[in-house]
């Protein structure tokens, strides 16, 4: 496959899709569903009113706060569970019970605890990311090849040095993978939380545009923004993973 095709083919796909969309709107004669042009104008309007950037900013602040809290607490907690079997036997059943509860289901409780504020959605995002990260960190410690630990002990490493030289590097790659997955879930929950609990952000934009005057051009514009921002963050993750893992890959 030639280089040009790598750019031309996806471009063609986008154009075909946009064309089909435009045709479908014209053919059905819908007055509610927007055409691609309507969506572009809608986004322009949002940018003009200054809402666009402030909503993106609000969403990012929420998702980053909740997610970082989950990372900072979740990784050490999960690794500790993986390292101390007794702790794991006691705590793991609780985690397994709480984990499948959709984070959104915590919404009513979050509202009692934190009121209608930024903290409630941040808490939901924290929950959404926390459990996958804890479980992945725990499993990462389980899956350290025993040989590595033996070698570390054989060379007389103290526990902190064993941590730094063996356990952390060995668990790093699988945890990194889980961080990306956890962010995907956090991003999904963010949108839902903003649709229910707050009055700013991209999720709110979508539900508000629909409820206040059936502005479907803004609904679809909001969806595209969610997709593009999510894609950019995911690309950041992939770039980070590649950079950090180069050592592992080239070994």
């Amino acid at each position: 496959m030639r280089r040009g095709e790598l750019i031309l083919l996806p471009l063609a796909a986008v154009l075909v899709l946009a064309g089909a969309w435009q045709l479908a709107v014209m053919a059905t004669g819908t007055t509610i569903f927007p055409s691609p042009g309507d969506v572009a104008r809608g986004l322009g309007e949002l940018a003009g009113r200054g809402i666009l950037w402030s909503y993106i900013g609000d969403s990012l602040v929420r998702v980053v706060s909740g997610y970082l809290a989950a990372v900072i607490i979740g990784i050490p907690f999960g690794m500790a569970l993986g390292w101390f079997p007794i702790l794991e036997r006691i705590v793991n059943p609780i985690i397994q019970l709480l984990r499948p509860i959709s984070p959104l289901a915590w919404m009513p409780l979050a509202v009692i605890w934190f009121g209608v504020s930024n903290t409630a959605p941040i808490f939901l995002i924290f929950l959404a990311a926390f459990f996958p990260i804890v479980v992945a960190s725990m499993n990462a410690v389980h899956n350290i090849p025993p040989m590595y630990l033996q070698a570390g002990r054989n060379f007389g490493l103290s526990t902190p040095r064993l941590m730094a030289k063996v356990i952390v590097p060995a668990t790093f790659p699988p945890i990194l993978v889980s961080l990306r997955i956890a962010f995907g879930i956090a991003w999904l929950v963010l949108v839902a939380a903003e649709m229910i609990a707050v009055d700013s952000g991209l999720g709110y934009l979508i539900i508000d545009a629909r409820n206040a005057g059936k502005r479907y051009d803004l609904v679809v514009g909001g969806m595209l923004l969610i997709g593009v921002v999510g894609l950019m963050i995911d690309a950041l993750f992939r770039w980070g993973t590649r950079t950090l893992m180069r050592r592992e890959v080239t070994e």
């Binding site: 036997r89 959709s102 899956n143 649709m195 539900i207 969610i226």
Partner: protein, 249 residues
């Protein structure tokens, strides 16, 4: 003693919950017993079974439809570098659009009801499944493909006899993750867009009279069903013809 430690964890959790409610004297947060009674009350009123069935119905249909479309789609795209170059960027933009962001459109197209919810579950499951299938096709050992070609298989036979069995282990992992996401999304969708199911139960219990005991009862049911679904998927990983795909241990 070892067999009892998991229950110890559960016991500690329930005791801590009870204690926290007593100490803070929070009037709204229910104690474990109130939540338990809440489950009893829902069962007696016949709502529990009705809502569980409603939620499972939506998840089952949306998920199965996604499976039927996403796997062949993912394989087809994965087998052709050109198709992949064309479609992958589009897939990558559509994928991070939270399925819940489609709610207004779902309501516009399908109205408030089961169809909308099934559509959202379909979207939520389709992208992870398609991407998993696509990547799994790349990971098929070239030696196996060449063996298939060597024995004179056509492209169709190669897909049926080599590619499909080779990707099943990864596919099952993807199916488990997708089902988890589908379960998360159905609850959210029911909180926003429909008026039955466990998600609806939670919002409704809160809005109609601050019945937080029912809220927590609903959460417990969501957790229990989530565990059952996850365990069911994990059993698939134990099937004889897929076990090679996982690290033994």
């Amino acid at each position: 003693m070892r067999r009892l430690t998991p229950f110890l964890g559960l016991f500690v959790f329930i005791a801590a919950w009870d204690l926290a409610v007593r100490l803070t004297g929070a009037p709204l947060v229910p104690s474990p017993w109130e939540a338990f009674r809440g489950i009893g009350e829902l069962t007696a009123r016949g709502l529990l079974v009705k809502y569980v069935v409603a939620s499972l119905f939506r998840v089952t249909w949306g998920y199965l439809l996604a499976l039927v479309f996403a796997v062949p789609f993912g394989i087809a795209v994965g087998m052709s570098p050109r198709a992949q170059a064309t479609i992958n960027p589009l897939l990558q933009v559509l994928r991070p659009i939270s399925p819940l962001a489609w709610i207004p459109i779902a309501i516009l197209w399908f109205g408030v009801g089961d169809f909308s919810a099934v559509f959202l579950i379909f979207l939520a499951s389709f992208f992870p499944l398609a991407v998993t299938a696509m990547h799994a096709v790349h990971d098929v050992d070239p030696v196996h493909l060449r063996a298939g070609e060597n024995f004179g298989m056509s492209r169709g036979e190669l897909i049926a006899h080599v590619v499909l069995p080779a990707i099943v282990p990864q596919l099952i992992v993807g199916m488990r993750i997708a089902l988890g996401i589908a379960w998360l999304v159905v609850v959210a969708a029911e909180m926003i867009a429909v008026s039955s199911g466990l998600g609806f139960l939670i919002v409704d219990a809160r809005n109609a009279g601050n019945r937080y005991d029912l809220v927590v009862a609903g959460m417990v049911m969501i957790g229990v069903i989530g565990i059952v679904l996850d365990l069911a998927m994990r059993r698939l990983e134990k099937l004889d013809f897929v076990r090679w795909g996982y690290v033994e241990g």
